[in-house]
C-alpha cells in the first residue's frame, strides 16, 4: 500500500515536471531574442535619412545606446500613438540613468505629409527620447526594405485623405547597433522594459 503511494506520487511528480517543461515551450517568453532577427535584419542597414533638424542621420552615431526603431506616420490614428504611448510606459519602468541610454527612432513612411516640424512635435509629445526621421520616398523605401518591413498607402473612400497600412514591429538594437529583439504590437510595456534592461 505504501509502495503504491510512493509510485503514484513519483508518477505525479514526473507528470508535473513534464507539464512544466512542455508548458515552457508554449508560453510567450519575455525574451524574443533569437538568432533569427540578427541574421534577418543585420546585413544591410546602412541607410541615410534626415533628422528633423535637417542633419543627416547615421545609425552608427548611436553606438553605445539602445535604439528602438519603428516605422509610422504622424496622421496614424491608432497604431503609432499606441506604440509611442507604450514605449513611454516602458521607459517609465526604468531608472533615469537607464532611460538616458535608450533612444527611440521613428521613421516616417509618409514623406508627403510629414514635414520636419510636424514630425518633431509628434515624437516630442510622447517623451520617449525620440528622433524623427524622414527622407525621399526612395530613401525611405530602402530602409523599409532593409528591415523587411512593409507599408502601403490606402486612399480613403471620401476626400483626399489617405491612411497607410504599415509594419508595427519595434526593432531593438543593442549598443553595437545589432537588431536583437522584435517587439510585437501586443507586447506589454513590462515585456519591453525587461528586454531593454537585458541589453543595457
Amino acid at each position: 500500500m505504501k509502495r503504491n503511494l510512493l509510485i503514484k506520487s513519483t508518477l505525479v511528480g514526473i507528470g508535473l515536471c513534464v507539464l512544466v517543461i512542455v508548458g515552457s515551450f508554449f508560453t510567450d517568453p519575455p525574451k524574443r531574442v533569437t538568432t533569427k532577427p540578427e541574421k534577418l535584419y543585420n546585413p544591410s542597414r546602412n541607410f541615410t535619412l534626415n533628422e528633423t533638424t535637417g542633419k543627416s542621420f547615421h545609425l552608427k552615431d548611436l553606438r553605445g545606446e539602445i535604439v528602438l526603431l519603428f516605422f509610422g506616420y504622424t496622421s496614424c490614428p491608432d497604431a503609432c500613438p499606441s506604440t509611442l504611448a507604450k514605449l513611454q510606459r516602458s521607459l517609465n519602468l526604468l531608472t533615469s540613468e537607464q532611460i538616458e541610454q535608450v533612444r527611440t527612432v521613428f521613421i516616417s513612411v509618409d514623406p508627403e505629409r510629414d514635414n520636419p516640424r510636424l514630425l518633431k512635435d509628434y515624437v516630442d509629445y510622447f517623451g520617449v527620447n525620440a528622433i524623427g526621421l524622414t527622407g525621399t520616398k526612395t530613401e525611405i523605401d530602402k530602409v523599409v526594405e532593409a528591415y523587411q518591413a512593409h507599408y502601403l498607402k490606402i486612399p480613403g473612400d471620401t476626400g483626399n485623405w489617405y491612411s497607410i497600412n504599415h509594419t508595427t514591429t519595434v526593432f531593438l538594437h543593442d549598443k553595437q547597433g545589432k537588431v536583437r529583439y522584435l517587439f510585437l504590437y501586443d507586447d506589454t510595456p513590462e515585456q519591453l522594459a525587461e528586454a531593454i534592461r537585458k541589453y543595457l
Partner: protein, 153 residues
Amino acid sequence: MKVLYRCFCFFVVICLMFIATAQAQGILVNDAWIRGIPPSARTTAAFMTIQNTGPDEMVLKSAACEIAESVQIHTMEQVGEIMKMKEISELRIPANEQAALAPKGYHIMLIGLLRAIAEGETITLSLIFADGTIVSVDAVVRKWGSMAPMGHQ
C-alpha cells in the same frame, strides 16, 4: 362616449410619449475619449462604447464634429506585423447589444482638425444613425484610454 374619446386621446399621448422616450433612450454612450495629439498634428481618433438599449437594431451611419473637416468611421485589423485600417460605411449595433470603439478596432477618425486640442478638454461629437436619431457625445481628450497603465489599450 366623450369619456371614451378622452381615454383614447390619453392613451395615444401616453403611447407617443413612450415611443419618444424609447427612442431617446435607445442609445447610451459611455467612456468617450479622443486621443491627445501634439498641437501641430491634424488627425486623431475618438473611442467610446455605444450601447443600444432599444428593441431595434441601430445603424451608425456617420458622425460629425465641428472642429474637424471630415469625420469617418474606421476599423483596424492587425494582420501579421501590419496594421490595416479601412473606412466603413456603417456600424450595425443589434438590439440590446453594444459596440466597442476601442484602440485596435473601430474608431471615429477626426481628419483635418481646425484647431489644436488640449489634454483634458471636452469635445462634442454627434453620432448620426440611419433612423434619423442624432446623439450628442462629450469626449474627453486623453493621451490614452481608461485601460492605462496596462499594456493593451
